[in-house]
């Protein structure tokens, strides 16, 4: 069940991100790219085996046997930090594009 929900959510996120990237408004394009990279992060989490496992610190709560793979979570943290930087830059660039061209409509650039 978890897998199916996740798959649907991921698919929807990628579709929505792609839809936004294809808009004319630069801000929407940046949003689209951000959503696509967040979807990629969420997808990365699912690579560490979702079903029947628990967070890394399994001694919090009842004694669990299986633990999730901590490596993918470390990878996602790295990817999120990089995503912060690139999103900030893309937004600053959008502002600069507006200053230089007086518009953020891609058709008019």
């Amino acid at each position: 069940m978890t897998e199916a929900t996740l798959a649907v959510v991921l698919g929807a996120l990628f579709a929505f991100g792609t839809y936004l990237v294809l808009r004319r408004d630069v801000v929407r394009v940046v949003w689209g790219v951000t959503i696509i990279s967040q979807a990629a992060n969420a997808y990365l989490i699912t690579m560490g085996d979702i079903a029947g496992s628990v967070p890394v610190l399994s001694h919090h709560g009842p004694p669990f046997t299986g633990t999730t793979d901590p490596l993918v979570q470390a990878l996602v943290l790295t990817a999120i930090v990089i995503g912060f930087g690139t999103t900030a830059f893309a937004l600053a660039l959008t502002y600069r594009v507006y200053e230089e061209h007086g518009t953020i409509d891609l058709e008019e650039l």
Binding site: I36, L71, L93, R96, V97
Partner: protein, 520 residues
């Protein structure tokens, strides 16, 4: 411990930090930056001297964590060759930049960003971990975004927007591929991936998804290499960026894509058995050989044709570098299609990478000199440069003929080896396209020469005022193109060692995982 492996990275990183700290003291900052460039060359020379003659890969375990659990940096002859290319291009570009970029621009951000880009490039060449490759790519790209938009005019912002959005989508795709690869193989360490793919049954690895995921990765690397059909950000970005940045983008950053293809597809993924699918090619590598060949043929033809029609020197050079990367990929395609000639093909690709890095960065710097001295780089407004400044014109001739491939320049050997590899492997389509590409190269180089350098000096050229240091950097690279051609034998030996290192999977796996016997 092999400290020399991490030395180039540390030198570039420390220089980036120091130039950031000293940004209030202009002269000191420039001195530190150039000193850092010299230090980088020295560190790379140390690495080359330690790795190349001994042959075997040297491994640096970060934090002393054992592979495959910790992160490793691996230096073998292939990485050493690519780092040597990076070193010979970055130093002249850096010295050139101290005289080309405005004092304010240098003070604010140029030097730290430039060195951070070098950090990213160096890390990409040295890393032995697939996820780390992604991280180093991001380090390199983030600084290159800012360097492309450096002048922040209308042209620059539009070009950078395109470059950024395309690369951000590329990064997301790369992350998807790497995540999938981790789920499929259970490891991110390149040597471990190679080892597990070679013994797929034993480790329960399904090869079919791996093939699809590597195809995703392949698209990202072609994007970085600026090959057709992922080429359309190249001309705008190269024309928008300051001349020393274009030189490094075309000379070095483009080669990171070439290196990643060579390293991953020949060393890491080649061991995988072929899944039972109706695909062209007999092996996983053979499948990518077919794809590479198609991309190479399209790049050579498109880049050459588009360059012939250009009226702006920077755009001409940018389109030319799409065509030139096609030659490199054609040699790799030949290597992938016929495994028995793999070493010949990779050697050709490496030599051509060096040729292109030297000649193209020379020409981009020269284009910057022309723009600074004459106020324009439109070929229509230039003319008679040969009479006004024989030194600059002579350097252009050396760089241009280097691209064309006239002996004794290093370009001749690059072209010769690529043609030789394509002929030996009977890749007729590639051979025909390379021939047309070579003729187109002659056409656009002679076209640029006729319009810009021959004839009566134009009004723009009459006001010629070139900076001697800038000209010296261009001349140094021109001397490099000649010297590398005259003393070609050691370079050929080095490139051969690089090709052998790319193909010697057993040595790579054994030295990274430090286990004997059961390596693939």
């Amino acid at each position: 411990m092999n400290q020399f492996v991490i030395a180039p990275l540390l030198v570039a990183l420390c220089t980036a930090i120091l130039t950031l700290l000293t940004r209030r003291f202009g002269r000191a900052q420039r001195a530190l930056s150039v000193l850092g460039g010299v230090g980088y060359v020295a560190a790379v020379a140390w690495l080359v001297a330690s790795v190349y003659p001994s042959g075997g890969p040297a491994v640096y375990h970060l934090g002393d964590w054992v592979a495959p659990y910790g992160i490793v940096l691996v230096a073998d002859s292939l990485s050493a060759f690519m780092l040597a290319i990076a070193a010979v291009v970055t130093l002249p570009a850096l010295v050139y930049a101290t005289r080309h970029i405005s004092a304010f621009g240098q003070q604010v951000s140029f030097h730290p960003l430039f060195h951070l880009m070098v950090v990213g490039v160096t890390g990409s060449f040295l890393t032995g971990d697939v996820f780390n490759l992604f991280v180093w790519f991001e380090v390199m790209l983030l600084s290159s975004y800012v360097l492309v938009v450096f002048y922040s005019g209308p042209e620059q912002t539009t070009a950078t927007l395109r470059y950024v959005v395309l690369n951000l989508v590329g990064s997301a795709v790369m992350l998807l591929a790497i995540g999938g690869l981790y789920a499929a193989t259970g490891t991110l360490n390149m040597a471990d991936v190679a080892h597990r793919l070679a013994n797929a049954q034993q480790y329960g690895v399904h090869v079919t998804p791996v093939l699809g995921l590597t195809a995703l990765l392949f698209a990202v690397f072609m994007l970085k290499a600026g090959a057709v059909p992922f080429h359309w950000w190249v001309p705008d970005a190269y024309a928008a960026a300051p001349a020393p940045v274009s030189a490094v983008l075309a000379g070095v950053v483009k080669k990171v894509g070439v290196y990643a293809v060579t390293r991953l597809y020949f060393t890491v993924f080649a061991a995988a058995p072929l899944p039972d699918l109706a695909l062209p090619g007999d092996t996983v590598l053979g499948f990518f050989g077919v794809v590479l060949l198609a991309i190479a043929v399209l790049s050579m033809l498109f880049g050459g044709l588009a360059a012939v029609g250009q009226r702006d020197l920077d755009r001409l050079l940018a389109y030319s570098s799409i065509g030139q990367v096609g030659f490199i990929l054609a040699a790799l395609a030949a290597a992938a299609l016929r495994p028995e000639f793999a070493a010949v093909g990779i050697t050709a690709a490496l030599v051509y990478s060096l040729t292109h890095a030297l000649a193209k960065s020379l020409l981009f710097l020269l284009s910057g000199v022309v723009e600074d001295a004459a106020g324009t780089r439109r070929l229509g407004d230039l003319g008679g440069l040969a009479r006004r400044s024989p030194v600059v014109a002579g350097s252009f001739l050396v760089g241009g003929l280097g691209l064309v491939g006239i002996p004794p320049l290093v370009g001749f050997f690059g072209k010769f080896l690529v043609f030789d590899a394509l002929a030996q492997t009977d890749v007729v389509v590639g051979l025909a396209a390379a021939l047309v590409g070579a003729i187109l190269t002659v056409a656009y180089v002679s076209g640029a020469w006729n319009r810009g350098f021959w004839g009566e000096p134009s009004a723009a050229v009459d006001g010629w005022d070139a900076d001697p240091v800038q000209v010296a950097c261009v001349v140094a690279l021109a001397v490099g193109v000649v010297a590398a051609g005259v003393g070609f034998n050691p370079i050929l030996e080095f490139a051969r060692a690089g090709a052998d290192a790319a193909l010697d999977r057993a040595a790579y796996i054994t030295s990274v995982l430090e286990r004997g016997g059961d390596a693939a």
